[in-house]
């Protein structure tokens, strides 16, 4: 009896999902015009590929679970840590003003390190060099929260990475990774996100693979997920040995994929499947 009820419930959920998906499929996906020489004509945020319910969750700051991360980090921003007796606030003041636009321009060239660094790395550089505090581990809640909080200060601002000058070989490297087929399933990022975006793939619509919502709250993980974890997941799922988070390979890929979404408004914390 119980299993029959469960079966019925599943059937109802499946039917509802189909209805939602049909709706999403028919809906016009709004995007922005890409600059000349770009791979896409229209650059479209992953938001446009999601269901009405998922988009509603993102649209309401009080309902969006990603805001728990923002709130946690807002407290940590003021907290003194490390032997220098400093907090983020000691140097940067109010994040709302000092961090505005910072996250939209990452990854960014670092003159001292002679390489691009992303937001996670920048935060840890601050911690180790200025605060003399321990760096946060990648995927730790603390690092993902702070990354989300800083990027949130750029919400609504256009993604604006620089790809010229010393960044240019990194851009090319990221591009090469994007178009390389990996794993037993022999798929490149481009196989799905360039050639087949907008199509239905099993239970989901393939997006352009844009990064403007990261770190993003993922419904299936029930937490905010940083970009390199998502890269890892994609590679793992095509049965490939993923590159390491914060590796040069993923840094280059982060830069290149950010360029593919140039001009899209930052949505952090976005809500995705």
């Amino acid at each position: 009896m119980l299993s029959r009820y469960v079966g019925l419930a599943v059937a109802v959920v499946v039917a509802a999902s189909f209805a939602t998906l049909a709706y999403a499929q028919d809906a016009e996906r709004k995007g922005i015009a890409a600059p000349p020489g770009h791979v896409f004509k229209t650059i479209i945020s992953g938001y446009e590929f999601r269901s009405k319910e998922t988009r509603a969750l993102q649209d309401d700051d009080l309902e969006n679970p990603g805001f728990l991360a923002v709130e946690r980090a807002a407290d940590v921003w003021k907290k003194v840590e490390g032997t220098e007796g400093k907090s983020c606030m000691s140097c940067h003041g109010q994040a709302e003003t000092s961090m505005k636009g910072v996250g939209a321009a990452m990854p960014k060239w670092d003159d001292k390190l002679k390489k691009p660094v992303n937001l996670e790395q920048r935060i840890n550089i601050c911690r180790t060099e200025k605060m003399k505090a321990e760096p946060w581990a990648f995927k730790s809640q603390a690092l993902t929260d702070m990354t989300t909080f800083v990027r949130f200060q750029s919400r609504g601002m256009p993604v604006a990475v620089k790809t010229d000058g010393p960044m240019s070989p990194w851009f090319e490297r990221g591009k090469q990774t994007y178009y390389t087929r990996y794993g037993q399933l022999d798929l490149a990022c481009a196989s799905c996100h360039e050639r087949n975006n907008g199509k239905f793939m099993r239970a989901d619509f393939l997006s352009q693979g844009q990064t403007n919502g990261f770190p993003t709250y993922r419904l299936r993980d029930q937490r905010v997920v940083p970009l390199h974890e998502r890269f890892e997941g994609c590679m793992f799922d095509v049965r490939a040995e993923p590159f390491k988070p914060l590796s040069d390979e993923f840094l280059a890929l982060e830069l290149y994929v950010a360029w593919r979404g140039i001009g899209l408004p930052v949505e952090t914390p976005a809500v995705r499947n």
Binding site: G183, Q184, D186, F200, R202, R220, G233
Partner: protein
């Protein structure tokens, strides 16, 4: 709705070790003639019923992730990546279907479809899959037998 694109691609997450594969390390060679594989990979015909199961199983063929089949309408979530397989038995010979499943890039050079019977020449394959094909020879033959029922 939680079932994501990643899940669709995750053919072999929980059952990674349980997936039957070809014996590791021996490179698979395909006996290609006229853009097709005339000979059964096992020397025997496959089973359409077993093939349907392989076709539907996400950790094996997972064919519906990308293709649609009207006769399988009761199954949820048919993908749009690849063409409908309705009437595929009339469009290709058995020998052609065998090569398309085994290594489709030999015919459609630009396709995104994975090779289901290939175990080398791939990049950064996860250690547990190195030297292994997605399907065994017998599973490929079963899928071919099932595809032949799609008239």
């Amino acid at each position: 709705m939680r079932r994501s694109l990643a899940a669709a691609f995750a053919l072999c997450l929980s059952a990674a070790g349980a997936c039957a594969q070809e014996p590791a390390k021996t490179p698979i060679t395909l006996d290609i003639a006229n853009d097709s594989l005339p000979k059964s990979l096992t020397g025997a015909p496959g089973s359409a019923a077993a093939g349907k199961k392989v076709f539907l199983t996400r950790t094996l063929g997972n064919c519906l992730a990308c293709h649609q089949v009207t006769s399988l309408k009761s199954e949820e979530f048919h993908g749009e990546f690849g063409p409908s397989l309705d009437g595929v038995a009339g469009r290709y010979t058995e020998a052609q279907l065998r090569l398309i499943v085994a290594d489709p890039k030999r015919i459609f050079t630009d396709t995104v479809m994975p090779a289901f019977f290939k175990n080398e020449g791939l990049s950064r394959v996860r250690p547990e899959f190195v030297g292994k094909s997605i399907l065994t020879a017998a599973q490929v033959e079963d899928v071919i037998a099932f595809l032949k029922t799609l008239n």
